[in-house]
């Protein structure tokens, strides 16, 4: 193969940035901090591009390419190395992460400029990049898991970035804990893998998996592994039942929501499932579970999205539902479609969040859409870019979202029309609430009071130039990423035309399901395209009617729906249910039994008694230490006699 690609540089560069900023940032200027952060993340992006160039120009495609860095665990036959693995899948992820990450870095420079702990933010951000890239490039599950946990940590730190704010801190904790639940499943899955394959290395594991026949008849070992991995994925990618952390995660700064909780980290689950597709393909039951979970999540989250009024919450739920789409794709075996949607979603959802950030920035920290409106005249660029993104997510051709979503729906139909039906409904809802968001924010006239400082404080960061009466466009440094992302979400879908993306990823997902698409006639596919477009248009129309032409209708409808509306508004009371089902018993139990029962009564008492006993004994024994030299000598002599006797006994025994 060609000479080394030095993949290790890509993760290490952001780490270096994080280290420098973390250790020196406190005393260096904002400019220096942002320079460091940008340079290192940009370098990572550049190197990623270089790698792509090398791969593309290589005469014989060097993929999959493995790079051994250092060995880490060597226990018996089981070895885990710091080694990196690059194939088409990780290549796509690599580009997405570095690209979007870099853009969001740039954006953050403007967005976080006034934050007191500016350097901390970029340290965390670079740290996140490092872990995310490790996750992507790992050549074995364990290293992947390190990245997995690392991004969890980074997300925890960034959600709780404004840790002085109670809600932020608790949101961070919530995210962390919920993720732990998922990771638990993931870990057990890994243990199972180790037990059966004595390895976590992708190539080795998959090499052993390939010959195994599909467990169609009965759920076997691979099913178990698949389900466990799915649990992990649910945690990380916010699927039912573990999605609850993602909406709260919006407490973090908006760029974080864009980068971590929309574009990259939350898709790690999808990536992981796609990465271990061989296992899933041989475990149809697990695959079905994936599909069902994805579908339900998509619908469920979308419905919640309708009622939310916090602009970021809406986006959060839409993220959850889009992730549901991806899992649906994976579930029906259309991994490449899932990854495709992952990529496009990274573009337009990142763009949406950044736009939302720009809006929030514009109105001075206000997040409630009811206090917005008519902003298009104030912030035209943001309006334009967000419009593009909305079209993209709603699935209007030729925007990116259309291609990927359509692909997914088509594949879903091929697998099972039910999926397709739900998918279409979800698509309708999606386009509805997205346009709702768009109209509520930009259309009509401005409903918010002239921006006031408290608004910022609730948001935790104070605004650049206070005392302005009206919303204002964001600085260029924030707009440029918006535009780039807008272009991407406009054209990003084109790479999928004619299954080019499929063929690109074909070496990875060389499975039977891939070719099914060609089996069915193209004509049907076009028909389905039409349907989904029509649905999207329908959603647009409904949103236009409700929020532009007849703004009084929504309240009526809400009133008529009554309790159901309440339920949806309160997110189906899922948080409350969880609280009563799991949290409260846990807290009670650990307080009563673990703390007061075991810790106090058993552990502490035993320790105290041991100490007390030791004191009593030593009080007696202390008398032995009379300080008289000769008595010591006496003890020694006696002891020597004993030793001699013992040794002689040994000698005689032989």
């Amino acid at each position: 193969m060609t000479s080394s690609l030095n993949l290790w540089l890509i993760p290490v560069l952001p780490l270096a940035g994080a280290a420098i900023n973390g250790f020196l940032g406190k005393r260096s200027s904002r400019t220096a901090v942002s320079t460091i952060a940008l340079v290192f993340s940009g370098a990572a992006l550049a190197w990623a591009f270089f790698v792509v160039w090398r791969v593309m120009t290589a005469v014989s495609s060097p993929l999959p390419y493995e790079e051994y860095f250092a060995h880490w665990i060597r226990s018996g036959s089981f070895t885990v190395d710091f080694a990196f693995y690059l194939d088409q899948l990780s290549l796509v992820m690599l580009l997405v992460v570095t690209g979007v990450g870099f853009l969001i870095h740039i954006y953050s420079v403007g967005y976080m400029w006034d934050d007191p702990s500016y350097y901390r933010f970029f340290t965390y951000l670079n740290l996140f990049m490092f872990f995310m890239l490790t996750l992507i490039l790992a050549n074995n599950y364990l290293l992947m898991f390190i990245g997995w946990e690392g991004v969890g940590l980074a997300s925890y730190l960034l959600i709780g970035f404004w840790f002085t704010k109670d809600s932020a801190a608790s949101a961070g904790k919530k995210a962390f804990i919920v993720n732990r639940i998922g990771d638990f499943g993931f870990l057990i899955g890994l243990f199972l893998l180790i037990q059966h394959f004595q390895s976590l290395n992708f190539t080795q594991v998959f090499a052993q998996v390939r010959p195994i026949p599909s467990e169609t008849a009965s759920a076997g070992f691979l099913t178990a592994v698949g389900l466990l991995l799915m649990v992990g994925a649910c945690g990380k990618s916010a699927q039912i039942p573990l999605y609850v952390w993602l909406p709260d995660a919006m407490e973090g700064p908006t760029p974080v929501s864009a980068l971590i909780h929309a574009a990259t980290m939350v898709t790690a689950g999808v990536y992981m499932v796609a990465r271990s597709h061989l296992i899933f393909e041989r475990a149809p039951m697990a695959l079905t579970v994936v599909a069902i979970i994805g579908t339900l999540t998509a619908l469920f989250a979308a419905t919640i999205g309708i009622t939310q009024t916090d602009i970021k919450k809406v986006l959060a739920y839409s993220t959850v539902s889009q992730l549901g789409y991806m899992f649906m794709a994976c579930g029906v075996g259309a991994f490449s479609a899932g990854i495709f949607h992952l990529m496009t979603h990274a573009f337009f959802k990142g763009l949406l969040f950044l736009g939302a950030g720009s809006v929030i920035h514009a109105v001075g920290g206000e997040q409630d859409m009811r206090k917005m409106g008519g902003l298009r005249s104030y912030i035209p660029w943001t309006t334009l870019t967000m419009g593009i993104a909305t079209l993209a997510i709603a699935g209007i051709p030729p925007f990116a979202g259309f291609w990927s979503k359509d692909e997914i729906l088509w594949r879903a139909y091929l697998a099972n029309p039910i999926y397709w039906l739900i998918g279409v409904v979800t698509a309708f809802i999606t386009s509805f609430y997205m346009f709702r968001l768009l109209f509520m924010t930009f259309a009509g006239e401005y409903r918010g009071a002239p921006t006031e400082t408290p608004g910022h404080d609730t948001h935790g960061h104070t605004h650049g130039h206070d005392g302005h009466a009206s919303p204002h466009e964001s600085p260029m440094v924030m707009l440029v990423p918006l535009m780039i992302l807008a272009v991407l979400s406009l054209l990003g879908g084109l790479v999928g035309i004619g299954d080019r993306f499929d063929h690109f990823l074909a070496p990875v997902f060389s499975s039977s399901a891939e070719t099914a698409g060609e089996a069915a006639g193209k004509g049907m596919e076009y028909l389905f395209m039409g349907i989904s477009v029509a649905v999207a248009a329908l959603g647009f129309a409904l949103a236009y009617v409700l929020y532009v032409s007849k703004p009084y209708l929504p309240q009526k409808i809400a009133a008529s729906l009554g309790s159901f509306y309440e339920t949806v508004l309160n997110k189906y009371y899922v948080d409350e249910i969880y609280a009563t089902l799991f949290v409260k018993p846990l807290v009670e139990g650990s307080t009563r039994i673990l703390w007061q029962g075991i810790d106090r009564k058993v552990i502490d008492d035993s320790i105290n008694d041991a100490a007390g006993g030791a004191r009593h004994v030593s009080d007696e024994v202390r008398q032995m230490q009379s300080g008289n030299l000769r008595s010591y000598a006496g003890w020694i002599a006696a002891g020597a006699a004993v030793v001699i006797a013992y040794m002689i006994w040994l000698g005689v025994g032989r």
Binding site: R630, A637, A638, A641, I644
Partner: protein
């Protein structure tokens, strides 16, 4: 048959044992010291019997000539008198003496149980300086160096310990 070797051994051995006993019997440290010197001289004789002439010489020079002189010197310096009989520690009597007796009896039993098996000829091996030297400076170089460091440290420690502590100025006396 009683060889000259055995006779000499017994003679020196008797002297050594007698000296050791005398060391215990004497109440005045200087007598104990002298009897110890006798023991060492006798041991030097034993070493000669065993052919370890260099060891014998060093035994006389170092032990009898230097270490014991040091002892005598200290006895004279502190003008140590006959030791007074304070009440001893019960432990030493109750455990120490019996322990010592048991141990030595056991050892003697074991040794004599294997006695006569191997006989050591007179001048068994010539421990000439010419042979000791290479040993000290090749096979046992590291221990040798370490002991040299040890003795150096000991010298410094002795100097520090025995040097007069800085006496604090006496407090001014009130009254006449």
């Amino acid at each position: 048959m009683i060889s000259v070797h055995l006779i000499l051994f017994l003679t020196f051995g008797t002297v050594a044992a007698a000296g050791a006993i005398n060391l215990l019997a004497q109440t005045h440290p200087i007598n104990s010291a002298l009897s110890l010197i006798a023991v060492m001289a006798a041991l030097a004789g034993e070493y000669l019997l065993l052919g370890a002439e260099f060891v014998a010489a060093v035994q006389v020079i170092v032990y009898a000539g230097a270490i014991m002189v040091l002892f005598v010197f200290v006895i004279m310096l502190l003008n140590a008198g006959v030791e007074e009989h304070t009440k001893g520690s019960r432990v030493a009597v109750l455990f120490g003496i019996p322990g010592m007796l048991i141990g030595s009896v056991l050892l003697a039993w074991v040794m004599l149980r294997h006695s006569g098996t191997e006989a050591v000829p007179a001048g068994a091996l010539p421990g000439a300086p010419k042979m000791i030297g290479p040993l000290l400076f090749h096979e046992f170089l590291l221990p040798f160096e370490i002991t040299s460091i040890l003795i150096l440290v000991a010298i410094m420690g002795a100097v520090v310990l025995a040097s007069k502590p800085p006496t604090a100025p006496a407090p001014p006396r009130e009254g006449n």
